[in-house]
Amino acid sequence: MRKTFLSQNPSVLIFIALLAVFTIVVTLLSEVTGVGLISTSFVKTLGKTLCLSLVAIAMDVVWGYCGILSLGHFAFFGIGGYAIGMWLMYARTEGIVMTSLASQPLPPTPAEISDAIGNQIFGVVGSSEFPLIWAFADNLFVQLLMVVLVPGLLALVFGWLAFRSRVTGVYLSILTQAMTLALALYLFQNDSGLRGNNGLSGLQNIPGFEETSQAKVSIAFFIASAFALGAAYIGFAWIVSGKMGSIVQGIRDNEARVRFLGYHVESYKLFIFTTTAVAAGIAGALYYPQAGIINPGEVAPIASIYLAVWVAIGGRGRLYGAVIGAVFVSLLSSWFTGGGAPNVNLGFYTIQWTDWWLVLLGMSFVAVTLYFPKGIGGLFDYLVRKPS
């Protein structure tokens, strides 16, 4: 089986090899080893990009392979971030509060501790009560479980409802977008219990590792992200090859025909939808400790559409295409918006890329959709001629 799998997917080996080399090179050149050619902040950017690649792979599986254009996968990504963010914020605040209470003459009671933590966390939204959803915030294990369970369950319920009523195509896209919008609006409320507009912050400080330098922490997260990406790549490559993959791609090409052949289409779609949602949640949980802050704006419907843009530009229906799209567009985007691109002086008007980058992105996206439906990944087809 393993042999067939690899021979079917030569890209897996190449990808894993490249990822390993990349990870090792970055680690060696980072500030941890003392070389310092790659700054800590750039290591974080690279780590974040790996996480984005992971969610892009998930998007590619659900859209490029199964034909479900989900505009909600970045919401699952955000949920994962919030789930881990709750623990990070709680544990860190607890540490700070315990230190400040320890200097007092009387040892604090549990109620006093919880009050003080609540004040620290929810002071910005005018509250000090812990909402019910924070019940397990002190428990890393439970919150890690939530990273997986909450997006998974949400996707399961939502997908079950939607697929059962045979909502397909653009309707499904709009429905997933509505779900994302509802989630974002919910998070924007101050009484949602997740600090409303402020979001969760200070996530780059990992409790228990206060003494460790950010350079080390960021390298650790970078490596963890690389591992997650590699594992997800292998996992998803395995899912989309073989019999299961054939059925899933059959659903994309002609759902009715697959149903007539006797397959329970809804179960397959639900499986793909849920699995990719879980992967998106894990990607989010790895992303936000590197980003340091999460707020509801990150979950807004536009983010999920950008995800689709990455995958489309990178090339749908091939996992490495999604990675290429995510890396290429997100790095290019931060290069342009960060002022890295030189301004173009036309004499009568100066094109400042910070302003015009989105116009360029939008137009190139139209061009890719119209003329290069296979995306950047499609270029590889010219390099690798398959024996027919």
């Binding site: 034909g67 254009l69 003459p105 009387l106 040892p107 604090p108 009671t109 549990p110 109620a111 939502f158 409802l161 939607a162 059962r164 009523s165 045979r166 909502v167 195509g169 653009v170 309707y171 896209s173 709009i174 429905l175 977008q177 509505a178 779900m179 919008l181 509802a182 609006l185 919910y186 924007f188 409320q189 009484d191 419907p301 536009i302 559409i305 689709a308 843009v309 489309a312 302003d355 015009w356 980058w357 989105l358 116009v359 992105l361 939008g362 137009m363 190139s364 996206f365 139209v366 959709t369 119209l370 439906p373």
Partner: protein, 646 residues
């Protein structure tokens, strides 16, 4: 009161005739002693004469007198108004207003006491209430309405008869009615006034009635025989046991409970080396151990003992908690209660109507935003994520036109067709360049139009900046149609509603009664067959898409009048617009109407349940829609038969 009344009337008569050509200084000199050293009993003579004189300079004198700015020159006893400019005291002649340098003359300051100043203030109110200038009269009435007081009733009633402005007279009568209801002398007067008020839905009437119905909360061991009892409070229902007990504490009927903070502070205060009350400090990390240590301290008499839960329950049970009206006469409070209940019922009724109107206008906004989409998405099946940006383009067109045409009415008349033309052209261009190539790949249409959407949004940001641009409505759209104090709807909302209706009719007409509409429906149902009948599907698709986009442009102008014009305004409507079309039922203009109504009324309904939180309302509405689509995937108005095939 009669004195004040006659005083005001005589003032009025004299003001018009101004018989005596007396100077103010003369009058003051006649009463020199009373002016210089006024007392509550003697001042009225001066005031009467001043009012009777009808001199215009009496008003500023009264103000200066009240504000303690009047001085008496000791040499000749004349009165002046003193002002201080740049550290130098100057005297103003009271009649001519001439400036006289004070020099080092002997000046005696006139210092009226509080009672006198109140009397002067009352006289001032009369002056102002009967001032020939309507703006001053209005201001005086507003001042009374802001802080009602028994002493204002007389002057106000006195000024009603002489009021020349019919509007202000009504306001004065209404205000007098409120004053009588609150401060009237006999209960009969007050009840009559209260009954007069009962048809009035305004907020200040309700405030007056609520003031009459103000209650004090009280507690005693048995209910009092006397007094005007409003309500006996039931523990656990009207008042929580904790609140009841703290009220007992406030009334000194029970010992104060010892809070956790108090325990902590007491322990800190009596810390003795490493332990408090025999308990080591390191063990004091829980409420139980802290309580034990505190009890030990209490046994030693160092701190007051804790009040046990049982003692508190017992104390609460032993007392009656009730509300007592401040007003002692039950007949007045009964009348006020009845009037208020009546008003509240009609207010609730009016609010429901108002909510309905609000919902209707929200529904028409959604309808306007979605109607163009109903054509491109509903009829043609093309997902156009840039639809919101067409709305934005229409709104910016209106803004740009207003920069060149200053007359708002004309500019709107120009902007509407211009917005249509521009977005029509944009729509046609987009259809030709992009969408035409993607008719068989709907998901990719979504993505391509999304690319156009972000490009257009950023382009608008580059051209017009990020701040909101105003699109000012013509004057005749300002203001609101007011039915009563609760029901009101702004003219802009009415205009949007009318525009929405107009659009509905135009689109139905175009689709059902014109050659173009026939061809559109033919191409939608079966392009191949339509083509063989001599219809050019390319042209029809182009025209249809242009029509839908053009309508979005006009909607943009309308929405821009109602909300601010920003580059993101389209994005705010896009998801709701798609919802509207999907919920209503794709492929049917009536469906869009149904969808917009459902969403508009639903959102307002949820907002009404939880008025503080519009975000929550939107969240719940979207969740409802997601569920709704589960049960009616084809929308409210589902097409049947062949046309329904995807």
């Amino acid at each position: 009161m009669f004195r004040l009344f006659s005083l005001a009337v005589s003032f009025w008569l004299l003001l018009s005739s101004s018989l005596f050509a007396q100077s103010l200084q003369d009058i003051l000199q006649t009463h020199a002693a009373e002016v210089a050293k006024p007392s509550r009993s003697s001042v009225s003579v001066v005031l009467d004469d001043l009012v009777a004189s009808g001199l215009p300079q009496a008003l500023p004198f009264l103000e200066a007198w009240r504000d303690r700015e009047i001085v008496q020159r000791e040499s000749d006893g004349l009165f002046f108004r003193s002002t201080e400019t740049a550290g130098e005291v100057q005297l103003l002649d009271l009649d001519s207003g001439e400036m006289i340098a004070a020099g080092d003359q002997d000046l005696q300051k006139v210092r009226p006491n509080g009672g006198v100043r109140r009397a002067i203030g009352d006289a001032l109110v009369q002056f102002q209430l009967s001032d020939p200038d309507i703006i001053k009269r209005q201001a005086a009435v507003d001042a009374i309405a802001r802080s009602m007081d028994a002493s204002q009733l007389g002057p106000l009633q006195a000024s009603v008869a002489g009021e020349t402005d019919a509007n202000l007279k009504r306001v004065k009568q209404r205000l007098a009615g409120m004053l009588v209801a609150t401060f009237g002398e006999t209960p009969q007067d007050r009840i009559a006034a209260i009954e007069e008020l009962s048809g009035d839905l305004s907020v200040d009437t309700r405030a007056v009635l609520n003031t009459i119905l103000a209650t004090n909360s009280a507690v005693s061991e048995t209910l009092p025989e006397e007094g005007n009892l409003a309500k006996v409070l039931t523990i656990g229902e009207d008042i929580s046991p904790e609140d009841a007990y703290s009220r007992l504490v406030a009334e000194n009927l029970a010992p104060a409970p010892v809070s956790k903070v108090a325990i902590r502070d007491a322990l800190l205060a009596h810390m003795d080396g490493g332990s408090v009350g025999g308990v080591p400090v390191s063990e004091l990390g829980s409420d139980v151990t802290r309580a034990r240590a505190y009890d030990r301290l209490a046994e030693d008499g160092l701190v007051p003992p804790r009040v046990s839960e049982a003692a508190r329950t017992e104390a609460v049970a032993a007392h009656k908690f009730y509300l007592e009206y401040v007003e002692s006469d039950p007949s007045v409070t009964d009348a006020a209660r009845a009037a208020l209940n009546g008003i509240e019922t009609s207010v609730a009724l009016s609010q429901t109507v108002d909510l309905g109107l609000d919902a209707l206008s929200l529904a028409s906004i959604y309808f306007l935003a979605a109607i163009g989409l109903a054509i491109t998405f509903g009829v043609m099946g093309v997902i156009n994520m840039a639809h919101g940006e067409f709305i934005m383009m229409g709104a910016y067109t209106g803004y740009v036109v207003q920069q060149f045409v200053p007359d708002y009415t004309v500019s709107i008349i120009i902007a509407l067709p211009l917005a249509f033309a521009i977005t029509f052209a944009a729509g046609v261009a987009m259809e030709r360049l992009v969408i035409r190539h993607l008719y068989h790949r709907p998901l990719e249409t979504l993505l391509a139009t999304f690319g156009i959407s972000i490009a257009l949004q950023q382009l608008a940001k580059n051209i017009f900046g990020t701040q909101a641009r105003p699109l000012t409505s013509p004057e005749w759209l300002d203001g609101a149609l007011v039915f009563n104090d609760v029901i009101a709807i702004s003219y802009i909302r009415i205009a949007i509603f009318v525009l929405a209706l107009l659009f509905l009719m135009v689109i139905l007409f175009v689709l059902k009664r014109t050659r173009l509409g026939l061809e559109v429906r033919a191409v939608t149902q079966n392009p191949g067959m339509a083509a063989s009948m001599g219809i050019n599907p390319d042209r029809i698709n182009m025209m249809t898409f242009g029509l839908g986009s053009g309508i979005a442009g006009i909607a943009g102008v309308a929405i821009g009048l109602y909300a601010k014009v920003t580059s993101e305004m389209g994005a705010d409507y896009i998801v709701q617009s798609f919802m509207t079309v999907v919920v209503g039922g794709v492929g049917n203009v009536w469906g869009t109407l149904a969808g917009a109504s459902l969403i508009g009324f639903l959102q307002k309904g949820i907002e009404w349940l939880n008025p503080s939180n519009t975000l929550a309302a939107q969240t719940y509405m979207i969740l409802f829609i997601i569920l709704f689509i589960q049960f009616r995937p084809k929308g409210i108005v589902a097409l049947k038969g062949r046309a329904a095939a995807d």
